[in-house]
Symmetry: C2
DNA sequence: TTATAACTTGAATGACCACTCAATAACAGT
DNA sequence: ACTGTTATTGAGTGGTCATTCAAGTTATAA
């Protein structure tokens, strides 16, 4: 009946994530978006509706990818706590690594800080995603508690928020481009915080 | 010889801090700046040179103010460690409070995340300020170690970075606008991290 | 009072912003 | 080959961006 779409939505979104993650919403112009996606304005607007729409979809794609990575990471560990500790150390390594990701800081946090007083809709979306992540970490922590890895009196939600704050802080520190060894030490220190909540010392 | 300046530089900078802290560099237009400072473009450019120049001075003013607040806060404590712990709890309360500051997150971190891939000069400035803060915290931690508040083997620089990351994470979490009690708990949990480095348990 | 220097004003500037749409191109079904 | 449908193109839209500067205003010095 008609012509094929030359562009794959998923591929285009990945490229959009790359640009938005690096430069943020206000820092990415349509000109740059056109170049990054190799699409002309008409196609972009036909596919994603608006710059807002594209950013929103990109942020959702980023969050989904991040969630998948955490899940995959934890698959490799018998102990949930050790998995989380290694996750923190892994972030510290990634943040120490040069020129890998578009940015070392978390795109969700960057979006939250950028948009909280300029773009409520984006801030709401970032907040929702952060709540979902908090919940999923809380689920893991609760499971670890039930498993006996953590002291019985542990408040899972509360520990989850402490961990989420660690990740935010760690990745924001990453943006400072400190020496990789320093980032590794920081990751270790954050992982060690969890030891204080474990049953066996 | 000539006319007085109608505008006080310091006052204007305070107003600029209010706007830039809330909306960031890209999110603040010259129109909004004119309104916030109650100055016309000519006066702004005569006084601060450019939007960049104004932002840079505002960021420096913000950092100086923040440094002063930390120093004043610690004056009220005999124990440096307890002073730092209370500082964390205080941030948590401020972040839980409604409609106080222009933003709950730290302007320096906001600037770093916003500008690291769009405005290298601003990113450099933010990095310098963060290094200076790290150093000043390290000095406090070292003093606490020498005082015998912290275990002798404590790496002051390293603990300083862990604390800085806590502040970053805490204030970023503040931007989520969670329940004040939740923020207080988070502040307590972060303060408790320091207990692990203390001499007396 | 007058001359002069310092400061303020705001309309004007060209560049760039997100976005639109008529024209064109590429397919599928007949 | 022809037709109908859908995708792509890119010059063009009005608006906003940071910035400039000639003209106007206000103070001080002579």
């Amino acid at each position: 009946m008609a012509r094929h779409a030359r562009y794959d939505r998923k591929t285009a979104l990945e490229k959009a994530v790359g640009l938005f993650w690096a430069k943020g919403y206000h820092g990415s112009s349509m000109k740059q978006i056109e170049q990054a996606l190799d699409m002309r304005p008409g196609s972009i607007y036909a596919t994603f509706g608006s710059k807002d729409g594209l950013f929103s979809e990109a942020l959702a794609a980023y969050a989904e990818q991040g969630g998948r990575e955490l899940a995959v990471h934890l698959k490799g560990f018998d102990s949930i706590v050790e998995g989380l500790q290694d996750y923190l150390r892994g972030i510290a390594c990634t943040c120490g690594d040069k020129g890998a990701a578009p940015s070392r800081a978390c795109m969700i946090v960057k979006t939250l800080l950028e948009s909280s007083n300029t773009h409520p809709a984006l801030a709401d979306q970032a907040n929702s995603i952060l709540s979902a992540i908090e919940q999923s970490i809380a689920g893991l922590v609760e499971q670890a508690r039930v498993n006996g890895e953590l002291v019985q009196s542990t408040d899972s939600q509360r520990l989850a928020r402490l961990l989420q704050a660690q990740i935010m802080g760690l990745r924001s520190m990453g943006e400072r481009k400190l020496d990789p060894q320093i980032m590794r030490d920081l990751g270790d220190d954050m992982a060690a915080i969890l030891d204080g909540y474990r049953t066996q010392h």
